[in-house]
Every structure is written in structure tokens, then in C-alpha cells.
Amino acid sequence: MKKVLMGNEAVAYSLFINGVNVATGYPGTPSTEIIETLKSFSDDDFYVEWSVNEKVALEVAAGATLAGARSAVTMKQVGLNVAADPLLSLSVIGTEGGMIVFVADDPGPHSSQTEQDTRNFARFCNLPVLDPSSPKEAFSLVRTAFEISEKYKLPVIFRMTTRVCHSNETLEFEFKREKRRISRFEKKPEWVILPGLSYIKHIELEEKLTKMRSELGRLNIIEGHGEIGIVTSGISYFYVKEAIRGFENLFSILKVTVAHPIDDKTILDFAAGKRMLIFIEELDPVIEEEAKLVLFENGVYVPTYGKRNGYVPFAGELDVDKVKQTIYNVTKKEGLLAQKNFVNAPEIPRRQSQLCAGCPHRSSFLIVKNACRGKDVIYTGDIGCYTLGYAKPISATDTCLCMGASVTMAQGLKLADSRKKVVAFIGDSTFFHSGITGLVNAYYNRHNITVCVLDNLTTGMTGFQPHPGVGQKATGQEGQRVEIAEVVKGIGIKEVLIIDPYEDFNLCVQKVKEFIERDGLSVIIFRRKCTNLECYNSYYRINEKCINCKVCVNTTGCPAISEDEEQNVFIDKTLCNGCGLCTSFCPKMAIEKVVVNE
């Protein structure tokens, strides 16, 4: 089979081929497509799910591995923070069937809160970590990861970065699933983590790492015979190869596939006879630090250049040009630098991401803001499409920290600044992920806040995955639907209001206003399906009554309404989804509906 595959798709194919039995995950860019691809495969000994959050996903996979299944769990780097608790304990307990923890890092970052480096997390957990450079390599390393995991009875961290996850490459492979017999769960005292056991297991873990060092060293790649050594990893390997094109004879490359535990011998062999070492890696100087320790312990001195002495930037992603610049700065080799750029190109302001035309969140935000008019309000936000509620003209997000923090930070803000009204916005998938515990805390401790659940019946930002509130499972099969309002009432919260943000705007504002003026904890659920999943067979247009006051443009910030070349307001019918929110603000009834017959 020959196919162009994205890194994440390549991993999914390889997992299935290598007989994965249980795969779980929580969506998060750039990791989402692994489960999205796996869900299209089926076999009687294969199961895949979107779990409620990363901690849950990792624990489900951990359970499966204890019974001898090959399991895999996927998440983005910040998801690993959520799953840190079970992962660290699992490094002590160990596994039975092979288990791979896929974590996608996001240098840049393109769509994340942090630029954290999962290789450092692997060091922290004392677990092996593989770092593929391309979809092709990722495909072949999946098998290796299962083998390592099964041999050493430890979960293996499989760390990819955006440019590996989301680059596409031509792959050729046989699409045939390996059939394995799953052993049953065997009762053993070592599955129960207790302090005494942890001490013994810690000793074992260090012994395993020592054995692994030399064995996994074979996965690292050494190329070239030049006396300038470049140590690199992941996608940076290809940046380096391209940067030194034409000058290959001057350089040798060490591509470190296993950043932890690092193989001392590989480092020492590579460093022997080198004039200098240049460390080119994205995010943290993990290999740079590990390698320097190895050199120091063995009394080897080689001049080194990397992040620690300012030759490679800490923040942001690398590319061929940045790598060229670094190598030039170190070696001063003429001819290395790229041809001239068009430095005089005019500057263009960044395009701000915005809520889609017809997004129900826009309406919900504006309803709440209008209901709170005249009050001093703090709006806490959360992670999802609706984080874009911070942008003008909506400006209804004053804080955003991490998944679920809207509900909890609101409580702290209210304690410290009690004269203000505090309103939290949280999405439906995020509510299930980590909003519920915060809401329990608010009820238990009598915090006086309003929580708005923006329920668009999907996980929007990552590409429309289902969640418990939808009831459908990842595979499309029917699951059990969890009704958010029932969860809220189940906690004991009496003040619950469900609103359709597409209903009459002023009526919604009135309802919300009455509701939030009451004292105590209250929850409003704004429920309307994501505009990308719904077609209303209509759009709006501006008629001759328009006085060009631009209230519609300046109030909604809807991408479908803008000004044409003559600065007249117009609605782009290819973008307009027919929600009609703009009509609520027009003083002249100059926006009219056009029904499309199909």
C-alpha cells in the first residue's frame, strides 16, 4: 500500500498493524489525528475511544496493559500535565503488555499554552523517550516502542512535534494487522503501589535504565566524517541536513533518537576527534545537558555551542534558516548563508484568529455582556474556540490559564475582589474534562459566581470530536449521553438556566439578567450546535435601508460582515451562515434574510 500520510496518521496505521488492542486519548492539537485515524479501523481485538480527559485516558490504557494488552494513549504536551499523576506512578508499578504514551509537543507554539519539552518530562519520570524526525521514522519506531516496553515492562514515551505530527510524507507498507494473544490479568502484589514497594521498584527502575542506555544507543544515527560535530534530534535533524548541503565534508551529524536514557558510548564515540560540538534541538537543551554530563564524567573536553551559550534560541521553533545562521555564527564558514531575502517587503499585521461566522459563542458572549451592562464584571475564560472571546469587539475574556481554570480562578478572583461580579465561561468538552470538580468546589465552599457553559455539542477547536454531552462515541457508535444540566443539578446547584443563544436576543438578555442578579452560585448553559455542523439554508443581506452606521460590524465582529472598497457595509454570502445575530443590533432593520432552496 502506498499512501501520503500525515505523521499522526502514520502512527495510527503502525499502531493498528502492530496489534494495538486498546487506544485512548483526549483531543489536542497537534496530536488529535492519531485517534481520528484509528477510529476508522476495526477488528475484534481492537478498541478505541475518546476519553474524558488525559488522566482518564492514560489510566484506561494502563488498566489494559496490566491485563497484557498492547495499549496506546495520545495527548498534546499540556495534556501530559493532566496525566502526570498516573504516569509517574506507572513508572514505578510498570506494565505488562506494551504501552506507548504519545505526546505531541508544539514548538512555536502554534496552538498551545506552553512550549514545554516532553523529553524533560521523560527524564523527570525516568522513562525512555523516542523522538522521531519524520512520519516515516515515526511509523517504524512504533514497533520498536512496543518491543522496548514489553522487554523492560515500562511505558515508553513517544514524543513528536508539530512538524512531525502535521507533515505529510509518501509511505509504502503492507497493511496487515499482527494478531497477538492477550494474556489475562494476573493478581500480583506488585500491582499495588505502597511506599515499601516503591523503594524496591525505584532501584529496579534505575537498573533498567542502565541496561537500556546501551541497548537503545543503536537507534541513534551517525552520519559523515567531518570534524565539526552537530548533535541534533527530531525535526531539527532535517533542518541540519539541509543547512549544511554542499558543505557535508566539514560536518558529522549525530541524530539522537532516544534522548533519555542517553547512551554514553554513542556520545563519547561521536565526540572523539571532533574540533567542536554544536547542539541543535528545539525547546529545552535536553541532549545538550545530558551529553555534557557524559563528557564531563569521562574527562573529555570539546568546545560546545548550543542554547546554554546563546547560539541557539530557547523559544520558538527552528527552521533551516535559523540553523544555517547558528552554524555560520559558530564556524564563520563563507557561503553557508542563504541568498538575499526581500527584507524590504512591507509589514502586514497578523491576522487575528476569530470566532467563525454564525458561531453561537459570539451570541452567548454578547448576551452575557449586555445582561451585565453597568456592572463591574470580571470574565474568566477557558481553553477552546471560545478563548477567542478575548478579542475585540467581544472582549469577554479577562483570564485564561488551562483546562477548567475558568470555574476555579473565578472563585479566587471573587474572594480577593469581592465587589465585582465574576462570570466564568467554559466549553462543553472542557466542562467534562476538568470543569466539574471546580464546580463542586464552588458549591461546597459557597462561592458566589456565575458559570456559563458554552455547549456547542462538540469539541470544536480540535475538529469536532464527540464528548459525553453528545453521547456518541469516537467510532460513531452510540454511547450514554451525560446531560450537563443534570450533572449541575446533581451537585446540588438549584439555579440552572438553559438558553438557546439563537433565540430572540433581547429576550435572552432579559432572562440572563434576572438570573445572574440573584445571589449565590448559578449556572447558565448556552446550548446551540456548532455552526460548522449545522446548515441553516439561509444567509442575510444588507438592503437599501442601511445608513452605513456600522453598528453591526462593530458590535458582532462577525467575519461575514465587513466593509467593501467604498467602505459600505456588506455581508459575504459565502461566509454568512444565517444566524441572524447582526439583525438584533441594526437600528434601521436593514439586514434581511434570504432563504436558499436546495
Binding site: K2, V4, T29, P30, H110, S111, S134, R163, H166, S167, N168, E169, T170, I235, F238, Y239, K241, E242, D319, V320, D321, K324, A338, Q339, K340, N341, F342, A345, P346, I348, P349, R350, R351, Q352, S353, Q354, L355, C356, C385, L388, M461, P559, T574, L575
Partner: protein, 186 residues
């Protein structure tokens, strides 16, 4: 080695176009690597795709190395000029979605391209797609015009085969009509 950059804004079908071009090269037996921005940028932000034909390549095109720029939107085409050199071929869709606070006017952008590059091609893929009743297919309209003018080496039949491999049947039929009409008429 061939380096193609597609610049546009979210919703213009940038990523699908990248997949189609990738498939076209693959069908001819070439090794291809592509990279795309996916995530926050999809919500009306800038979207860039890189397509690189050849082996052992990084997925991102280095500065000055792009051979063909497909500008689905002109402001976005301008944003990526650092990837171009004077010999790069530049194709511009007649589509202008001005970023908020952008000071430069469209005439100035066109003048900038004219001053700095040798090969510029203007295609009205946007309006042709609207005229043919499929406004969302401006990406495939652009590809058809580029191939029809021999800026990429693919025939109408090759395009249809690649589309057939990538699109669901119903969407394919709509696009097929568009491609055929463009090769016939425009």
C-alpha cells in the same frame, strides 16, 4: 527539487489543495513532503502549506527557495515573500481579504510584486468558481488554472484522478465539472 508554497486564509481550502498537489506528484512516482499549519490558525487566520518534492527534505521551505507561490489570497501571498527569489513563479488569485489594521492598499501590493519579481500570473479563480456555482472550490479552480497555463506539469485527467482519490463522490462530481469547464473555457 520543487518547492511550492500555498498562502491563504482559513476557509479557502488551502490544506485540501496541498493534499491534491501532493497526490498529483505521488501519482507520478515522486517523493513528497508537506507541512501545514493546523489549529488556531484555521479560524480565519493565515494558513500556509509547504509542498516539497524530493528526498531528505525538511517540511518547511527555507527562505528564498520557493519555486512556485500559489497566492489564494493576495495579502497572504505578500506575507510570504521571504520564501521567494527573483525567479520564483508567482500566481495570484483575484482575492483580497484585508487584515484589520493593514495600511497597504492592493495597488501597492501588486506594484511591489511587479517591481521585485520576473514571473507573475494573475488568475481570477475566485470569481470563476462563483460563476460556475461553486464558490467554495476556488482552490481547485486555482489549481486548474495553474496547470492549464503549464505552471505545474499536470493534465486535466491527472487532476481528476487525484481528486477522485481524495474527495467523497458527491464533492468530487461538483469539482469535476469545475475542472472540465475551466480547461475548456477559461
Amino acid at each position: 527539487m520543487n518547492n511550492i508554497l500555498i498562502a491563504g486564509v482559513g476557509g479557502q481550502g488551502n490544506i485540501l489543495l496541498s493534499r491534491v498537489i501532493c497526490q498529483l506528484y505521488m501519482n507520478r512516482g515522486y517523493s513528497v513532503k508537506t507541512a501545514e499549519n493546523i489549529g488556531m490558525s484555521q479560524r480565519g487566520g493565515s494558513v500556509v502549506s509547504f509542498i516539497r518534492v524530493g528526498r531528505e527534505l525538511a517540511p518547511i521551505i527555507p527562505n528564498g527557495s520557493c519555486n512556485l507561490l500559489i497566492g489564494l489570497e493576495v495579502y497572504e501571498a505578500l506575507r510570504n515573500v521571504s520564501k521567494l527569489n527573483v525567479h520564483s513563479k508567482i500566481t495570484l488569485n483575484n482575492r483580497y481579504i484585508k487584515p484589520k489594521d493593514a495600511k497597504i492598499r492592493k495597488e501597492e501590493i501588486l506594484e511591489f510584486f511587479k517591481q521585485n519579481f520576473e514571473h507573475i500570473f494573475h488568475f481570477d479563480a475566485y470569481h470563476i468558481a462563483i460563476e460556475l456555482g461553486v464558490p467554495k472550490a476556488e482552490n481547485i479552480a486555482m489549481l486548474s488554472l495553474i496547470c492549464k497555463n503549464s505552471l505545474l506539469p499536470f493534465s486535466k485527467d491527472e487532476i481528476l484522478i487525484a481528486l477522485g482519490e481524495l474527495l467523497p463522490q458527491k464533492v468530487f462530481e461538483i469539482n469535476k465539472l469545475l475542472v472540465e469547464k475551466i480547461f475548456e473555457k477559461y
